[in-house]
């Protein structure tokens, strides 16, 4: 039976982890490679890096991080943030990323998803959707949530599936950082609309939220950042909890 996945996400800026695990025995709390290894050793089903490097001259730092991580972690590694072109995707894959998530570029230029999924296969193309509620629908935001494209999220999700996305990583901007739980309505509507797996993101504050994301939101995988940082919960605790609620996980 296919298991639901738990994916810890690390924000990386200029090659350093911005928010991360804050264990006392950690040699270097800012080292993304060390943090990713702790997660994969702890049973993470995948690792996600979100590159939030703002300046262009430091962009290349992520490539080195990916290269070092892929030599130490033998679970799938997804990398996103600032991915603009097929060439960017190619470089990340060559450095050892298994999947690349595309956000703004997928909205601005549909060819990026179409061409990259043809070239590298759908299995490594994740389309990241930042969704914000507006009345009774959700709209797609770009540029790290700063710009409203006005595009309807459900229509967009369907289009991205057609364009060749292998998975959708859906973040509720209304919930992100609030710790009140995923936007279940959004997740379940998207998940019912498309036939590709949906990864739920944004708003996790406790382990019950992970359960809800899968049971009610019908997500195939749940992504979380802050609950795994600062040692609040370990990935193993999360898995044991999901297991106790009857959700199939890899233990």
């Amino acid at each position: 039976m296919l298991k639901n996945r738990i994916i810890p996400c690390l924000d990386v800026k200029n090659g350093r982890v911005v928010k991360g695990i804050n264990f006392v025995d950690l040699k270097d709390a800012g080292d993304p490679v060390e943090q990713a290894k702790i997660y994969s050793d702890g049973g993470a089903d995948e690792i996600c890096f979100l590159d939030i490097t703002a300046s262009n001259e430091n962009r290349d730092t992520i490539y080195d991080v990916v290269e070092q991580t892929s030599k130490k972690c033998f679970v799938p590694l997804t990398v996103g943030g600032g991915v603009r072109s097929v060439e960017d995707i190619n470089k990340l894959l060559n450095c050892g990323a298994d999947k690349v998530s595309i956000n703004t570029a997928a909205v601005e230029n549909s060819k990026v998803v179409i061409d990259s999924s043809k070239k590298f296969g759908s299995q490594c193309i994740v389309v990241a959707i930042d969704a914000k509620k507006n009345g009774d629908k959700w709209e797609v935001f770009t540029h790290g949530g700063r710009n409203n494209s006005g595009i309807d999220v459900l229509e967009y999700a369907e289009q991205m599936e057609k364009n060749g996305a292998g998975e959708l990583l859906v973040t509720s901007m209304d919930r992100d950082g609030t710790q009140v739980g995923y936007d279940i309505d959004l997740m379940s509507k998207i998940s019912s609309k498309v036939n590709i797996p949906v990864i739920a993101s944004g708003g996790v504050g406790n382990l019950d939220h992970l359960v809800d994301g899968i049971k009610l939101g019908k997500a195939s995988a749940v992504l979380a950042a802050s609950i795994f940082h600062y040692g609040k919960h370990s990935v193993k605790e999360a898995k044991d909890y999901l297991d106790s609620k009857g959700i199939p996980v890899r233990i």
Partner: protein
Amino acid sequence: MNVTIVDYKSGNISSVINSFKEVAKNKVTIEVTSDLNKIKSSDKVVLPGQGSFKSCMDALDQIKGLKDTLNEFAINHKKPLLGICVGLQMFADVGYEETETKGLGWVSGKVSKIDNQNGKYKLPHIGWNQINIVKDSKIFKNIENNSHMYFVHSYEFVPNDKKVISATTDYSSNIVCSVEKENIFGTQFHPEKSDRIGLKIIDNFINL
């Protein structure tokens, strides 16, 4: 001993390279090449594969003499070869992804789309699933039945002779996820992404 990972521009093979190097340490040489002479002289060959059946077969065809060299290696000389994901699928006679495409024909059978039962099962089949080991395979030495492996695929290999099947996984139906036919081994899942247990399978192959 040396193991060659065939680099025929079939997508991303860096994870395969990293995992084999991790397992091999300094005891075994891992070559990554499409050089025909190097392939011929290697002890074992790994055939990775990403993207579609057709794109991988096309990529093999792009390198003159590669198919013949692989045939000679695996069929004539019966040296150990491991196909991963589409690398396994290409063992078949024919694949139906994108368009009907002739395969290598090493293990008789076809590659067709997984039946998603009218949307009940999402495709691609992505994530960790358990393998049901149905026959002793040398690459499953010290691998427990029902171990979790990482999968990413929408197409499945359906061999004609069920005796070649070494493991299946349950997704929509019993999908063939590993085969062994004499010196030819294949996994539909990605041992290179399946954590310590996946590395053990790679170790088993290297130590055949």
